[in-house]
Symmetry: D3
Subunit: 139 residues, 6 copies
Amino acid sequence: MRLLSRIRSLRRPLLEATAHCDLPCGVYDPAQARIEAESIKAIQEKYQANEDPEFRTRALLIKEQRAELVKHHLWVLWTDYFKPPHFEKYPELHDLFNRATKAAGAAGAKGSMDPAKGQELLDLIAQIDKIFWETKQAA
Amino acid sequence: MRLLSRIRSLRRPLLEATAHCDLPCGVYDPAQARIEAESIKAIQEKYQANEDPEFRTRALLIKEQRAELVKHHLWVLWTDYFKPPHFEKYPELHDLFNRATKAAGAAGAKGSMDPAKGQELLDLIAQIDKIFWETKQAA
Amino acid sequence: MRLLSRIRSLRRPLLEATAHCDLPCGVYDPAQARIEAESIKAIQEKYQANEDPEFRTRALLIKEQRAELVKHHLWVLWTDYFKPPHFEKYPELHDLFNRATKAAGAAGAKGSMDPAKGQELLDLIAQIDKIFWETKQAA
Amino acid sequence: MRLLSRIRSLRRPLLEATAHCDLPCGVYDPAQARIEAESIKAIQEKYQANEDPEFRTRALLIKEQRAELVKHHLWVLWTDYFKPPHFEKYPELHDLFNRATKAAGAAGAKGSMDPAKGQELLDLIAQIDKIFWETKQAA
Amino acid sequence: MRLLSRIRSLRRPLLEATAHCDLPCGVYDPAQARIEAESIKAIQEKYQANEDPEFRTRALLIKEQRAELVKHHLWVLWTDYFKPPHFEKYPELHDLFNRATKAAGAAGAKGSMDPAKGQELLDLIAQIDKIFWETKQAA
Amino acid sequence: MRLLSRIRSLRRPLLEATAHCDLPCGVYDPAQARIEAESIKAIQEKYQANEDPEFRTRALLIKEQRAELVKHHLWVLWTDYFKPPHFEKYPELHDLFNRATKAAGAAGAKGSMDPAKGQELLDLIAQIDKIFWETKQAA
């Protein structure tokens, strides 16, 4: 991992490391959303493996928070990073983001403790990640 | 917009009064975003009329918060309220929401103290508001 | 209350549409508190109609957040909008706000999943709403 | 106020140390509001002694947060701790809380960098503190 | 701990009453962490005495918030108040803070509804409190 | 990047992707702190290149938020991820985390708009990152 991490940091400017503030500072990365989604799936798996009511209530409220973060990180990418030329080149992008944020909501990973819902969310984020890095290389 | 607002309030049940939680509780209303946008424009106007540096700094940080709320409320409508049939009937809806949230961000009302930027945001929200209530009546 | 709401919306400028920031931007409206209270009652009703433990836990934690927002919005009106002349003209106003915020707390809508508690809160907010718009017209 | 504080601490059980959650957990103390107010006055004094624009902007945004906390802690005491019998015994209590929260807002310590405004807020909190501990002893 | 608390309050200026902002305003006090920990223990005791599922869910989510606050207040003391000379004089301080914050987390008071876990946390905070006031007197 | 990203995900379990919730979900990664620190340095650079007072105020308040996040992410790693055996094997770890969180605070990147302060913070996080991944491989 360390080696890969080093190689990676040599290939891309560190400023491409993530997405957040709306100064904007100019750093964006779908990893933020993916990481929270990984957490969601992990929480769902731990929930299924533990029937203690106190643990389950804590898992539900913490997953609620992580799912809200996934929605936020995806919304930030959709509004702050992607520009008109991107949406022209990738006509499915609007729908992809809409389905991904819905998959992080009540009808998806936020409302369910089924790890399969967490995986569906991860798969949609992976599609966004693929397009994101294509636009980065094209830049 | 005033007129639309008046007509609308004559036909809607109170439970359709706003949009928020992702239980979901089922209540949505573009008024939440519009109200924060009205606040933004009011702050921009007060900023232009007051050169006290302390007041101006407070205005900048408070407007930052309201603009973030506008983005959030619009994102909630786009992801949680609008469904595939809506996007089919209103093909411009994705782009409209993307432009409206961008207009609430750094390149728009969040990044500027010009009331004209606040008005541009209000105009885009009014377009969303119009479509929203059309879908409510169609329901 | 529906009628009051309709009449009111026919006479108020949009900038009077809501209450929030403490710049202050000058916009106030009991609708913010009422809307969260409507959400609370809707959550209580959905809770009574759904025995799924995961759904019920989510309903409890989300209602907790909405109830806290009701208290906040009412406190903002009581402190930031209402001035000494108002309290002189409406001697019951202090007590009314105190009872309303208590009705949104642990002994009321926050602590209970009974929709009747949500309605009690809505009724108190309606009384505040009536006085609020009377002061607006007197202004 | 120093003296009152010393006397008080000699007679109260630790569980009476502060006020916060709305379970409720049952612990309340005006110290929470007073402490944030002390911070506000300290920030105002540091602001007056430092003309660096970056420092002053940081002081303004941090004081904004502390002032909001003062309002919140006072509102919690007014709604969650004080009951009807208290308001009957102390008829000035509603007005005192209203003036204290106003003194923490835009027209007072939140809107000004004058330490005198911070002191005015502290004096009002001291009056609330005195009544609070009288009710605790009467309990 | 009661005694220490009493003695301490007899010798400290009010401005030393608590720890928070990172301007910094210069006010610090372990009381902030201790107070939240007292709340945690009170919630744990109320939870054990009440089998109502709605009450218990509310107790779990509220305790989660208070436990996070304890961790935050302790982290602030460890990073913002204590300086290299303190860590030299009290070599166990790093470990003490690490154990105390762990005791407020999932393996301790945050993850358990056993009041004994709340007491363990309070005991560790008392050790930090003792060292804190020694450094204050040495200053 | 995509390729590296794929290779990386083949070599390590995705659950090692980041650190956050205190269920705990079990995912930790110093990248969270590093990413916010990258943002801080970018904001400091943009601040130096832009003398517009409105932009500078926004940069100051946004950097304040990112710096607080860096401190939080580092505190989470120090308390939630690292265990006694780690501190025995890396005796400098406590001091390293204390210096890194101080470097993200008022005396460091939070209090200064000098990109050099942002770089100092990044260098300390890199040292933590190195130790973190060594412990991951040893696991």
